[in-house]
């Protein structure tokens, strides 16, 4: 049987990969995807724990996280769209109106 920390490590790695995406990608949609990736990594952790603790709370949590993820995706995409209307670009680094 696979030990717990195997899952934990995998999810940690995926989380880190998600972080990479958020940091480096210059396309807001991909950045948003990377965020989803992070959340899913956390989901994996939750489920793994729930399995190994034998408590359902973890799975329930995942359920809620999905809801949150959906909500964030929706809002995020909406914001991206409205932003795209202002400057025809998806590059996060081109948002330079507000600084200093």
């Amino acid at each position: 049987m696979v030990p717990l920390h195997y899952y934990l490590l995998v999810s940690a790695v995926v989380f880190a990969i998600g972080v990479i995406g958020v940091l480096i990608r210059r396309n807001l949609i991909v950045v948003l995807m990377s965020v989803e990736l992070m959340l899913n990594a956390v989901n994996l952790t939750f489920v793994a724990f729930s399995r190994f603790l034998g408590s359902m709370e973890g799975q329930v949590a995942v359920f809620f996280v999905m809801a949150v993820a959906a909500a964030e995706a929706v809002i995020g995409l909406a914001i991206i769209i409205s932003g795209f209307r202002h400057r025809q670009s998806l590059d996060p680094q081109e948002m330079q109106l507000l600084k200093w």
Binding site: V19, L32, S55, A61, M95
Partner: protein, 480 residues
């Protein structure tokens, strides 16, 4: 199963109000006045506040202890509602001439408030998390709601990105804590922490730190403060006020309940980093505020600095810091909301009048605005006998009493630094000529009501803080 819903009454009240507002909005034609919506939302807030006061002293937990309604929750609920009410009052004309959908705007303010109240009352990490998200998403939207203004949307984007990012960390923290303690319920968690402090898995502490990161982000403390200036500057001014008060307050409320109280077992682990963060937050906030040319952005930085002062109360621990924390939050809400209300008074659709030079001569063109603004500035700078001073006094007092004299001294030096830029506003208003034309400012009584309330609150808390102090003591005591 039998569930006692009474503790949820105020929250439900607001929720219903929000829905009513949205529905009522559908039946109003495009260009008709929408004062009714304001009226509805204010009534709703009023009722909710009334219910909260009625529930004052009630100590109940419901839904398998996933939520606790105690004076602490009530105290913050009142602050949130106050903030929401004043925000709505001061945003009426702003929203109208910015072409923002009013119905949704007010509804979202109410939704955000609901989220905050849940945060303050949450006794289960899941509830807290969902409340947080409700609030955040509502505020993301509010930030970006001035769609014709590209700054607004940029602010929304930045806020959302960083918020989501932070959410990831926060959630990770929750997950790890759940993994270590086997539950998301704070009571159980604290019991676990109390029972076997010896064999904590390492990732419990790690989870605690990730949680801490999430909170630090929400209160906008260095080094997680970067979103604050940009978002505050870009967001519609009333929203900025709402954010800088209510969101911060909510974050601190949750912080006080979860980290300071339930997870207090971990205090020793993050005391030092918090100490560093506190000093950094105060200093950087004040320092960067000095060279701003936009009052709005200056206020953003100053709100960072004030988060620093609040963190002092956190650092010195629950025993000494609790009361000052709550009291400071209260005073801070009044003066900040007031300041932003004045700011939103000046702004127009095409020209937002946020710079110091726009304030030139305001004091004599618009004596009321000038007086109120200087009141808020002096209070923020910590001049007696104003609320800001009282708040600072008790925070520093707590620091000294708990032996953190270093923090106290750095704190006062920082407020000296802050005098520089707060006074600049007064200099502009009273000692310089030119600036925006007096008559072009909004006359709407609503804003003035908001400002007046804020001003009175600031004065009252400064001159006769005894009762407020008493409330905050009771409120914090109810955590135990």
């Amino acid at each position: 199963m039998d569930v006692d819903f009474t503790p949820l009454l105020p929250t439900a009240q607001l929720l219903v109000t929000a829905l009513v507002v949205m529905l009522r909005d559908l039946f109003i034609e495009e260009h008709e006045p929408k004062c009714i919506l304001v009226f509805l939302s204010l009534v709703g807030i009023g009722l909710a506040a009334g219910e909260t006061l009625a529930l004052w002293g009630v100590q109940e937990s419901a839904f398998h202890d996933s939520i606790v309604l105690d004076n602490f929750a009530h105290y913050f609920a009142l602050i949130f509602m106050l903030a929401a009410g004043l925000t709505i009052l001061s945003s009426i004309d702003y929203v109208r001439q910015a072409g923002i959908h009013e119905g949704e705007f007010y509804a979202l303010v109410l939704f955000a408030t609901v989220g905050m109240m849940l945060m303050a009352a949450a006794n289960d990490l899941m509830v807290f998390f969902l409340g947080l998200e409700t609030m955040s998403i509502a505020v993301y939207v509010l930030t970006g709601m001035w769609r014709t203004n590209s700054r607004s949307s940029e602010a929304a984007m930045k806020y959302f990105l960083m918020g989501a990012f932070a959410t990831g960390f926060l959630l990770y923290g929750i997950a790890l804590i759940y993994g270590a303690t086997g539950s998301t319920n704070l009571d159980l968690i604290s019991d676990y922490l109390a029972e076997q402090p010896s064999e904590w898995p390492l990732y419990l502490i790690g989870g605690g730190f990730l949680l801490l990161i999430g909170f630090t982000f929400k209160v906008g403390a260095v080094p997680f403060h970067f979103w604050v200036p940009d978002v505050y500057e870009g967001a519609p001014t009333p929203v900025t006020g709402f954010m800088s008060v209510a969101v911060k307050a909510a974050a601190f409320a949750a912080w006080a309940r979860i980290l300071l109280h339930k997870l207090s077992a971990l205090d020793s682990d993050w005391l030092f980093p918090l100490w560093v963060i506190t000093i950094g937050t105060m200093t950087l906030g004040n320092l960067l505020a000095i060279t701003q040319s936009s009052v709005k952005r200056m206020l953003a930085y100053s709100s960072i600095a004030h988060a620093g002062y609040l963190l002092i109360a956190i650092v010195v621990g629950a025993e000494w810091g609790g009361l000052p924390l709550l009291f400071y939050v209260l005073t801070y809400s009044f003066m900040t909301i007031g300041a932003f209300a004045v700011l939103s008074c000046l702004s127009e659709a095409n020209n937002q009048r946020e710079n110091y030079r726009d304030f030139a001569g305001l004091g004599f063109k618009r004596p009321f605005l000038g007086l109120a603004m200087s009141l808020f500035m002096l209070s923020l700078a910590g001049f007696p006998p104003l609320g800001g001073f009282a708040g600072k006094f008790y925070v520093f007092r707590a620091a000294v009493l708990s032996g953190h004299i270093g923090l106290a001294i750095i704190g006062v030096l920082n407020s000296l630094l802050s005098v520089i830029y707060y006074l600049r506003v007064i200099v502009a208003m009273y000692m310089e000529e030119g600036g925006a034309e007096g008559k072009s400012f909004r006359q709407a009584s609503a804003v003035y009501v908001a400002i007046a309330v804020a001003a009175i609150g600031t004065l009252y808390l400064g001159i006769l803080p005894a009762s407020a102090l008493n409330w905050s003591r009771i409120a914090f005591a109810s955590l135990e």
